[in-house]
């Protein structure tokens, strides 16, 4: 698969070749693909979502079967499956021993963690990180006031709060996560802007509307129905919107 520019940019100045890596919250396996392309010795892609695990295996793990003409861009392009382990697990209890990895990516992860989960996950990531390990945290600044996509996120959060007792999305400002991970012992190294504006495409909007509808269905009858209807209405009204900023932070544990 093609490594997204966001991932390529976030990893460009990180030493990945030959390292043991962890993608925390694998999603579609985007950071895993980037880590493997950059020559990681091993990548643990951890996700608690079975569909995401399957998607990552299919998109990234099967890559090995594709031929590579050996120009050096795609190091180890034919052994992705050998270097990849997709683990279905809760990030608050990562099934790896202490000091097990040298590079950790949290690419688009923190926004799906409420503050309590974020704290627990940060503890766990710090535990599995070896001394001197690198941490890459890529996420979104809070959506600017007046953005249409913000209404959809509000509905998604309302449905999630009502049915699950926690928000679906929390957009932490870059400065917040910078200080937060520093509090967990990570030394801040740099910040860069990955996307500005952030292109929320029709497929992103549809995916978020689907999430809102799923959560709303679990919620109390009338309110749930109203939220689901609001999500669908916003999906068609918004279409797509480019707004806000995605940032990339890099940290390092002291040796």
């Amino acid at each position: 698969m093609d490594v997204p520019r966001t991932v390529a940019t976030a990893l460009a100045d990180r030493p990945v070749a030959g390292k043991r890596c962890l993608e925390a919250g694998a999603g579609a396996g985007n950071a895993t693909a980037g880590l493997l392309a950059n020559g990681a010795a091993r990548v643990y892609a951890v996700t608690n979502d079975r569909d995401h695990a399957r998607t990552t295996r299919r998109r990234v793990g099967d890559e090995g079967n594709r031929s590579s003409d050996g120009d050096g861009n795609d190091e180890g392009g034919d052994d992705h499956a050998d270097r990849l382990a997709v683990l279905e697990a809760d990030l608050r209890a990562v099934p790896l021993p202490d000091d097990a990895v040298d590079v950790i990516t949290a690419h688009g992860l923190c926004n799906v963690l409420d503050p309590a989960s974020l704290s627990a996950v940060a503890e766990e990531l710090s535990r599995v990180a070896a001394p001197g390990a690198h941490l890459v945290v890529d996420d979104y600044d809070p959506v600017p006031d007046g953005a249409a996509i913000g209404e959809l996120f509000a509905v998604e959060n309302a449905a999630s709060e009502l049915s699950r007792g926690r928000p679906a999305l929390t957009f932490y400002p870059a400065a917040f996560l910078r200080r937060f991970f520093a509090g967990h012992g990570w030394e801040f190294e740099r910040e860069r802007t990955l996307l500005e504006p952030v292109p929320w495409t029709e497929s992103h909007v549809a995916a978020h509307a689907d999430q809102a509808v799923d959560a709303a269905k679990e919620g109390p009858g009338e309110t749930g129905d109203a939220l689901a209807a609001a999500a669908r209405r916003l999906e068609s009204e918004i279409g797509s919107e480019s707004v806000g900023r995605m940032y990339g932070l890099a940290f390092r544990l002291p040796d």
């Binding site: 999603g27 500005e196 504006p197 029709e202 689907d210 480019s242």
Partner: protein, 294 residues
């Protein structure tokens, strides 16, 4: 309009090049007006080819009137010495001019063609003679084929002064070597060879003809172009920001004014915005459903 040096040619091309195929779709009077319109924006680099219907003939009158203001690129699909001479004579005739500033090997697709044009009996031998005779000033090559082939051409043709190839956010987002036109741009820059970007405004392919017959396509382009002013402008900015010498305008005259406006307004595009555009078209194109993130 911003100008950039076209490799070692000594010519500074405007950051937009007029793709004169657009004239093919207009009557002579409209073609004359479009050339005046393009010149009003300060565009100084025109590109034409004998394959573009009547474009050479329709460019002729205004080209002759404004010959000193226009750096003229033309091309040939002939691969042999004889063929290239024949087509060059024909183009000079149809355009009604004494010289062509940049004569280009048109649409190189296969390695065998590269062998053919570089042969003693190949098209480039004719180009070199024509250059000595003062009929052409510079030698270029165009291709929307494999980037590896264009890299080979850059390695094998010592007197190559410009290359024309596709560059847009769709191909920039793909990692496979078959889309790696950025490598072509980098190699050309190393060699100080001028770079001309095509397909900057491509939105995708046309639907199959059983869904949309060719006669029902709303634009004359080979591909489905982006058509909204904002999209045109960001596509132009993206292509120009990659470092191309010049971005060739789209083949449909309905799009030309928007492209000229974008070129006139061009003042760079920062990297986060470039990535944003790549990411947007990647998701528009993506077979993977339910991605919440970028």
């Amino acid at each position: 309009m911003e100008t950039r040096p076209l490799g070692d040619t000594g010519h500074d091309s405007t950051v937009a090049t007029f793709g004169a195929i657009a004239l093919n779709w207009l009557e002579q009077e409209g073609a004359n007006q479009l050339v005046e319109h393009v010149l009003d924006y300060g565009v100084n680099h025109f590109d034409v080819a004998p394959e573009y219907g009547d474009a050479e003939l329709k460019l002729g009158p205004k080209l002759r009137q404004h010959r000193e203001e226009i750096f003229l690129g033309c091309k040939t699909q002939e691969r042999t010495y004889e063929g290239a001479w024949r087509k060059l004579d024909r183009s000079l005739n149809r355009l009604g001019v004494d010289t062509i500033d940049l004569y280009q090997v048109h649409g190189l697709e296969y390695e065998e063609e590269l062998d053919a044009i570089t042969d003693d009996d190949g098209a480039l031998a004719a180009f070199r003679e024509a250059k000595e005779e003062g009929l052409i000033d510079h030698v270029g090559l165009t291709s929307h084929g494999d980037p590896g082939l264009i890299l080979d051409a850059l390695d094998r043709i010592d007197d190559l002064e410009s290359v024309m190839f596709p560059l847009n956010p769709v191909v920039a987002g793909k990692d496979d070597d078959e889309y790696d036109y950025e490598a072509v741009l980098a190699r050309a820059d190393e060699r100080n060879v001028g770079t001309l970007g095509i397909k900057a405004f491509a939105g995708g392919t046309w639907p199959p003809t059983d869904e949309l017959p060719e006669a029902d396509r709303p634009f004359a382009n080979w591909y489905r172009p982006v058509t909204a002013p904002d999209e045109i402008s960001e596509r132009f900015d993206f292509a120009a920001a990659q470092g191309l010498t010049s971005v060739v305008s789209a083949g449909d005259p309905k799009l030309v004014t928007m492209i000229l406006e974008a070129a006139a307004d061009y003042d760079g595009m920062d990297e986060a915005a470039q990535r944003s555009l790549i990411e947007r078209v990647r998701h528009d194109d993506s077979p993977v459903p339910e991605q919440l993130h970028h």
